[in-house]
């Protein structure tokens, strides 16, 4: 199972810089990042190579942060591959809540990251369907 770090941030200049600055100082590399914003604040989701280290660095700096289980799967970087994965999950009634993706250095693969209500069960399902959910270590090695 992979982990992402969620961070609460006010919607004003310099907040993202502060967060990424803290991570850089702690020697953490970013793999992917999304921001869900509402009017005055937002939640930054970070996929990093060292989630534990990132989490500790942020908490130590007084930043409201949370380490959460998240599912990351490798898919072929070709038309229809994400559709295939999503349909398989939809058929089994899995509701995807918050998703983002990024390309790996090997250009034929993409990583699809998403949150579900029951990550453990979803991981089982994905394994049965032949997908390989990535661990933190595998994400770090990408």
């Amino acid at each position: 199972m992979a982990h992402q770090i969620s961070v609460f941030a006010e919607n004003r200049p310099g907040r993202l810089r502060k967060v990424t600055g803290l991570l850089a100082e702690a020697g953490v590399n970013l793999r992917a990042l999304t921001i869900t914003g509402v009017e005055k604040y937002g939640v930054i989701k970070l996929l990093v190579d060292k989630p534990d280290l990132a989490y500790e660095a942020l908490i130590a700096a007084g930043v409201p942060a949370k380490k959460q289980e998240v599912i990351a799967i490798l898919i072929e970087d070709e038309p229809g591959s994400l559709y295939k994965a999503l349909s398989a999950l939809a058929e089994r009634g899995v509701n995807i809540e918050n998703a983002y993706g990024f390309l790996t250095h090997e250009s034929d693969k993409a990583v699809f990251v998403f949150e579900v209500e029951d990550p453990k069960q979803t991981v089982e399902l994905l394994r049965e369907m032949g997908f390989k959910p990535l661990s933190d270590a595998e994400i770090a090695a990408l």
Binding site: S6, F8, T36, V38, V43
Partner: protein, 431 residues
């Protein structure tokens, strides 16, 4: 249980009769002072004929400004040689106003303070350390005389010098302490520095922490850290000083000694009485004061009266914590709002951090109330959904307390300036 059982448990109708009689005597005495003799002539009041408390509503309020502009002797109701003590208000705003006491005033005051202390369980044999300032300020000497009247050993340590405070506590086995709540919390670091645990290494069992406003949470922290019962109290120098109202062991509201003071609660805008149980400005009339009787004094302190009787058996009504000062009152969309009401709601929600800010703006001629709160990092769940749920909950709980629907902004911990008093927390941009 009671210092003065008969008086403390006097049935309400008898208490009222006593108030009428004492009010008549007070008005007679007051009419000998330059200020009230002029006033009573103007409103054609004959104090001798007073037979009901209803007379009060025909007498104008006495304000701080009246006391100040008639200082030092405009309110003196006895020959000056009868005065044996002067205290004064702290004078945080403007010049200090002197309060004059006869020997009997000092005795009665001490007796009321003894009544308060006894109510919380202080007994002969206790050792009382008074860390409040002595001098013109009433908090130090008021408790000092009360404790002596009760018959406990008093250590008049006065404020400051934390190591000496702890040394005195340990040397004399202090069991009861009078201390500013903020100082009680600061003193903990000195205990720690000395490698001492106040719970183990002192014999403290009771603390009086009413000298400055504090939250229920602060009381609990003091009680836990020191292993004591901490009691809130209320007093103002214009009404002697400490001993006007005090918590009983139920710690649910402070009994106002209605044999010594008449309490009214009024709307600070209209000056009409508020319905019982609602927050308003406390107005006091002295009932036994000789040197300087004061009628219908506007305290500028805001609190509510608890209408129901207290399980302790005392018949004197209770008031809530002081919710703020009339000077702090905000009028938003025509509704009176006290910052303390907002603070109370915010502090009851654990997901909210300690700092907040109240911003008032005007948009299209409409008042807008914005409450900006820091979130408590510990409770961050990692998603917008949870935060929006929290934001809606804060709005809902504030609305049910203050009637007005505020906007609520969630902030990162530490993004607001640390508040050093109430002023910083309210920003009024309505011009």
């Amino acid at each position: 249980m009671f210092w003065d059982e008969e008086m403390e448990t006097l049935p309400r109708d008898e208490l009222k009769r006593l108030q009428v009689e004492r009010l008549r005597q007070t008005l007679v005495r007051a009419s000998r002072s330059p200020f009230y003799s002029r006033l009573f002539k103007r409103i054609k009041l004959d104090p001798e004929k007073v037979s009901s408390l209803d007379v009060l509503k025909d007498i104008p309020f006495t304000t701080k400004e009246d006391l100040r502009s008639n200082a030092p002797y405009g309110f003196l109701a006895v020959p000056k040689e009868e005065i044996i003590r002067v205290h004064s208000s702290s004078g945080t705003t403007g010049a200090a106003t002197p309060i004059l006491y006869t020997r009997s005033d000092i005795d009665r005051w001490a007796d009321l303070v003894a009544r308060c202390m006894y109510m919380t369980g202080v007994r002969k044999g206790d050792v009382f350390q008074n860390t409040m300032g002595y001098g013109l300020f009433t908090g130090g000497l008021g408790f000092h005389y009360g404790a002596e009247k009760l018959g406990v050993m008093v250590i008049p340590s006065g404020p400051g010098n934390s190591k000496r405070q702890i040394y005195l506590m340990r040397t004399f086995g202090t069991t009861v302490i009078h201390i500013l709540p903020s100082y009680a919390l600061r003193l903990l670091s000195t205990f720690e520095e000395l490698g001492l645990d106040p719970k183990e290494d002192t014999q403290l069992r009771i603390a009086f922490i009413g000298a400055e406003p504090h939250t229920e949470e602060m009381r609990r922290r003091i009680e836990e850290a020191y292993g004591v019962d901490a009691y809130n109290s209320y007093g103002l120098s214009e009404m002697n000083g400490p001993g006007v109202a005090f918590e009983c062991p139920h710690k649910n509201g402070m009994h106002v000694w209605e044999d010594s003071f008449i309490l009214e609660v009024v709307d600070p805008e209209t000056l009409e009485p508020v319905p019982e149980g609602e927050v308003g400005e406390l107005v006091f009339t002295t009932l036994t004061r000789e040197g300087m009787p004061i009628i219908r004094y506007r305290s500028r302190d805001l609190a509510a009266v608890y209408p129901d009787p207290c399980p302790c058996g005392r018949t004197h009504r209770r008031i809530s914590r002081i919710m703020g000062r009339t000077d702090d009152m905000l009028i938003v969309k025509g509704v009176n709002i006290f910052p303390m009401q907002i603070e109370k709601v915010l502090m009851s929600i654990p997901e909210v951090g300690t700092d907040y800010q109240i911003v008032l703006e005007r948009e299209n001629y409409m008042d807008k109330l914005i409450v900006r709160v820091e979130i408590n990092a510990k409770f961050f769940e990692g998603d917008v959904k949870g935060l929006e749920r929290l934001r809606r909950r804060i709005i809902e709980e504030l609305r049910s307390e203050i009637v007005v629907t505020p906007e609520v902004e969630l902030l990162e911990p530490g993004s607001l300036p640390k508040a050093e008093g109430k002023a910083v927390r309210v920003i009024d941009r309505r011009g």
